[in-house]
Every structure is written in structure tokens, then in C-alpha cells.
């Protein structure tokens, strides 16, 4: 839980897209930890199964995220997330 909170803080504070992605990883990890702990508590394998799914999701998300990082870098020449704020009202 504390890990999740730390991940959220990191997500909100950092402006660099890489750091934001890393914070997201931390959050996912924390969630997986919670699942496994719960599964171990009840003595069922379901927690680990959830972990596997979370892992798969994290992998997919990381690959797309990093591709987007490359895109952002090419376009704006920096990884500042605030630079990509053209969809404003």
C-alpha cells in the first residue's frame, strides 16, 4: 500500500515521461504484491494467477509506453509531458 502511494506520488510529481512510466510500474508491482499476499493468506493459487496477469499487462503497457516515449522524443525533442498539452480547452 505504501508502495502504491509512493508510486502515485512519483507519477504526479515527475515531469519526465520515463519517470512517469517507472512510477506506473511501481504501482502495478504494488498491486501485484497485494494480490499475492492475499492469495497466500487464504492459501489459494488465485493470487499468483492474478500476479501473472498483472505481469502480462505490465509488459504490454511498458512496450507501448516506451514506443510512445520514442515518439514524444522525436516530436518535441524532450520528454516533458507538459509539452504535449495541445488538447486543451
Amino acid at each position: 500500500m505504501i508502495l502504491f502511494a509512493l508510486g502515485t506520488i512519483g507519477l504526479l510529481v515527475r515531469r519526465d515521461l520515463i519517470f512517469i512510466l517507472m512510477s506506473i510500474e511501481v504501482m502495478l508491482n504494488a498491486a501485484g504484491l497485494a494480490f499475492v499476499a492475499a492469495g497466500a493468506h487464504w492459501g489459494q493459487p488465485d493470487g499468483q494467477v492474478m500476479l501473472i496477469f498483472i505481469l502480462a499487462t505490465a509488459a504490454a503497457e511498458v512496450s507501448i509506453g516506451l514506443a510512445l516515449v520514442l515518439r514524444l522524443h522525436r516530436q518535441y525533442k524532450s520528454l516533458d509531458v507538459d509539452a504535449a498539452s495541445e488538447m486543451r480547452g
Binding site: T8, L11, L12, R15, I20, V81, D82, A84, S85, E86, M87, R88, G89
Partner: protein
Amino acid sequence: MLKLLWLMPAFPFLSSLVLIIFGPRLAKRTVALLGVGSIVLSAVVSAAVSAAFLSSPPPGNAFTQTLWTWMDVAGFHLHIGFYLDAISLVMTLVVTFVASLIHWYSAEFMSEDEGYSRFFAYMNLFVASMLTLLLADNLVLLYLGWEGVGLCSYLLIGFWYLDPANGAAGRKAFIVTRTGDTAMIVGLALLATQLGTLNIQELMLKASAQWSVGSPYALAAALLLLGGAVGKSAQLPLQTWLPDAMAGPTPTSALLHAATMVTAGVYLIARTHVLFALAPLAQHAVAIVGIATLILAGFSALTQWDLKRVLAYSTISQIGYMFLALGVGAWSAAIFHFMTHAFFKALLFLGAGVVIDAMNDEHNIFKMGGLRKELPVAFWTFLIGGCSLAGLPLVTAGFYSKGLIIWAARASGDGSPALWLLAILGVLLTAMYTFRMIFVVFFGRAQMPVGKRPGYRMTIPLVVLAALSVVGGFVNTPAALGDIHIFTDFLHRALPNWVERPAGAITEMGSEGLVTLAFLAGLGIAYLVYIRKSHYAEALAEFSIGKALHQFWFADWGMDWLYDRIFVRPVVWFAHFDRTDFIDSVYAGLARLSELAYFALRSTENGKVRWYAAGIAFGAVALVSMVLFL
């Protein structure tokens, strides 16, 4: 046959509906057919009903046809019913006949106007409302017709709505008559609460049973109804709207503001004559209003240069005669004068329409001249109408009807020599302004070439009305000139006769003789000033008192100026002052609030990812805490 009564207002009403809905899509011929045809049908029904009534009079000399119940609440009954007796028979006959002639005339007169179907729709609606008014058997239905004609008057005065002056004239007419209508509705309320019914015949019976002569209720009710009549009939003090109403098309002026609508007030007072008989003070007031209006309008007509405005003031003056007749108790004389007035005034207006059309919409009589050779039919019919208006002795209808009123002003128990003399002065004035008009327009040098000449649809109505203006008076002549009183006898089935006072020094023939003298005097003065030595007119106008009087009379004795100062300006000032009061700020505040909300919400969409992530986090926290702690 009498059962066909309801068709009389139904035909024009249906035709008006059809023209309102489908009018723009119909061909001109169809529109004319519908518009004129419905009124002609109505006239046919009127003739048939009248024939049936005259040949075999129904019991009590009155026929009632109830169509359905309008409301029935707490013991107060109101029906949609029509009541035909001598008064309404005469009036509906005249109205439908004159209206059909005027509609036929306007089929040609308005043929180049792009609001053709709209015009006929409004005119038909007007005739339907007028007939409802005349045939109503209770005061509320009468009021419905009253308002209907007021509405049509507004619509028709402002017919050419693209010019704001016309709309302003329409509004003025509506507001001024509204003032009268308000008095009328208060009167109706008084009658309803005191007597429990508004059915006219029941009302009359109950009033005479419950109230004694001089009762304050009767006085109040009669005065309030008089207020309504004064507004609609353009008498003092509410006469200011009629001259401005000449902004409408000429057939409208002919139908509404000469022959029919403005006589609705006369009809109302004649119908409720019992109330006025119960309140002698109110009846005197009617006579005073009549005579004052007569004189004032006569002076004003003398100074006008617009052809239609002369005729408008003339109408005000002649209705003053009708009010005078009502005021001295000569009820049938008033209806007689209404009939003859409808004929010659409609004739004069239609003739004026021909002249104005020929002069390319020029209204100023001093720019016209010498038209008697160019427009012969118009000239002769206009001359006949003018003579009838002024009262050419022995051969015109106006002579007989006006003579009767003037004699009644002297001979009736409620009359007085003062009224009689002033009425004769009115004859002098009438002759003066009428012949001034005729001499300036039709005689002298031609100043403008004639543009359009009228077709047969415009000339035939003129001829018919001219004939009627001559023979229409022969239904009632004084004792020494044939002693015919078919008309008054017929009307005495519904209206009482006046109380004769013991004969004074003047006999009826003497009165007629004085009237003739006044007529000749007026004719002579007009001839002198306008044909022989026209520099008299200019000299009079330049002379300081003459000039001041001329201006004063031209401006309707200053009444417009007075009303503007007393009523219009304060109200407009207050409306302006009250433009942004606290109620307005509620609505403005609402608008401002949504504006602020817009700005606030807009700033939350700034396109920054972290901002949105923060939003999600915040929302998650809020949700979780809500679940936990609530």
C-alpha cells in the same frame, strides 16, 4: 329561415380561417372569391332572415338562437347565443350590405398589394367579429366581438407593417380603445355581481326591477359602459386614435372606421338603453359627450389638408350626432342616422380611395384639383355623398336623419335649446368642411395628372352607395314632408320612443328650416373662400389669431399633445428607469453564473497528463473515503 341566423357570422369567420391558413398559396382570383363571396353570402343570409322576420315576426318581436353553453359556473350561465330583434336586424343588414360592397371594391383596389390574402383574411375576421357583436345575446359575447373588432382594427391599421409609423398608429388605436374597454369590463363585472346575469334581456328586466331611477349602481354601470363606447366610437376624450388610423388601407377606413366598427359604441348604448334610462345623469353625459365631440371635431375637420383625415374627423363628428340622439332619448333616431351615415361615409371613403389612387397615393387636397372632369363617376358620387353628409335638403338621406336628431334635441324631454342650437352649428361646420373638401379636390385648376382610373369593380359600389345615400332617408320623414315613419315604427318594437316635451316656439318644420339655413350658410362660405376669392383663406391663416386657431384645431384641440404629456411620457420614462431592477438582476445573474462555471470548467481541461492523473488520484481518494466513512 330564421334558424340560418348563425350562418351570418359563420361564413366570414370560416373564410377568414381558410385565408389565414392557405392564403399565400391560393391564386388571387380564389382569394377574392373567398373573401368577397363569404361576405356576399352573409348579406344574402341577412336578407333572408330579415325577410322572414318582417313577414312573420316571431313572438315578442325577438328571435333567440342559442348555439351552445360557454360556461356554467356557480350559477352564472353564459351561452353562445344570437339574438335578433329590430335593432340588430337593421344593423346587421346595413353592415353586411355595405361590407359586401366594400369587399368587392377592395378586390380591385388592393389587387396590386402583396398582402392580398392577408387583407381579406383580416377584413373577413372583422366582419365576423362585428356580426358577433351585433347579434350577441349576452354582454360577454358582445365583448368578445368588441375585442375581435379591436384586434382587426389594429391589424388592418398596421397592414403595411414595414413602415413603423403604421405600426405606431395601430398601437395607438389599440391602446386608446383598450382604455375604454377596461372601463367596459369593469362595468360588466359590476353588472354581473349585482344582477347575477349578463344576458342582455334578462339584465334589462332585472335592472329595472331591482334598481330605481337614479340608483348609484345603475349610474356607475352606465358610466362605465359609456367609457367603453367612447373608446370604441372615438368620442371625446378618447377620439385621438381615429385620425391616425387613416394609415390603414382605404377600404379599411371605409368599413371599420366609418361605417361599422365605430358605431359599435352606439349599438352598445342602444342595447343597454334601460340602464341609461335608469341613470339620467349618465344619459345627460352621453348627450354632452356627443355635442362636445360634434363641435370639436367639426372645427378640426376644417383645418386638415389630408383628405382621409378630413373624413375621419367628419366621422367623429357624425357619431357625436348619434351620441347626442342617444343622450336625449331618441334611440331610433340614432340608429337611423347610423344607417344613412354608413351609406354616405362609406361612399365618401371609397371615393377618396379612387381619388388617392388616381393621384398616385397623394393625400394632400391642396395638391389635387380639377378632378371633376378627369374622374366623373368619382366626382358625382362624391358630390352626392358630400351633400348627404352635409344634409342637402329634401333629396338626401343625411338631411332626414340629421334633421330628426336635431329636432329630437329640441323636442325631447331630455333635450334642451342649447343642445339644439349647438347641433345646428354643427350642421354649419359640416357643410363648410365638406364643401371645402369637394371644391378643393374637384374644382379649380388641375395640378397633377391622373394616374389610374377605377375599374367597374370600384365604380359600381360607388354608384350603389350614392343611390342609397339619396333614397335611404325616405324611410323616415318629418310630419310635414310626407309623415313616413316606417323606420322608427319598426325600431319601436325594440326601443322606446322619446318623451315629447310640450311644444315650444319652434315646430319641427321650423327646426328643419334652420337646419337648411345653416347648410346654405356653410355652402356659401366654402364657395366664397375656396372658389371665388381664395386669398381669403390664406389671409385668415396668416392673421395671428387665425393662425393660432388653425394650428390648435389642426392638432385636434391639443389633445394629442396633452395625452403625450400626461400619460405617454411618464410611462415611457418609468419603463426606461425600471430597465434594470432587481428582478432583472436575477436573470442576468443566472447568465453570469453559467459564464463563470464555463470558465471554471474550461480551466480543468488543460491537456496536461499529470493534471489528469492527479484528478484520478483525487477522485479515487474521495471515493474510497466516501465508501469507508459514509
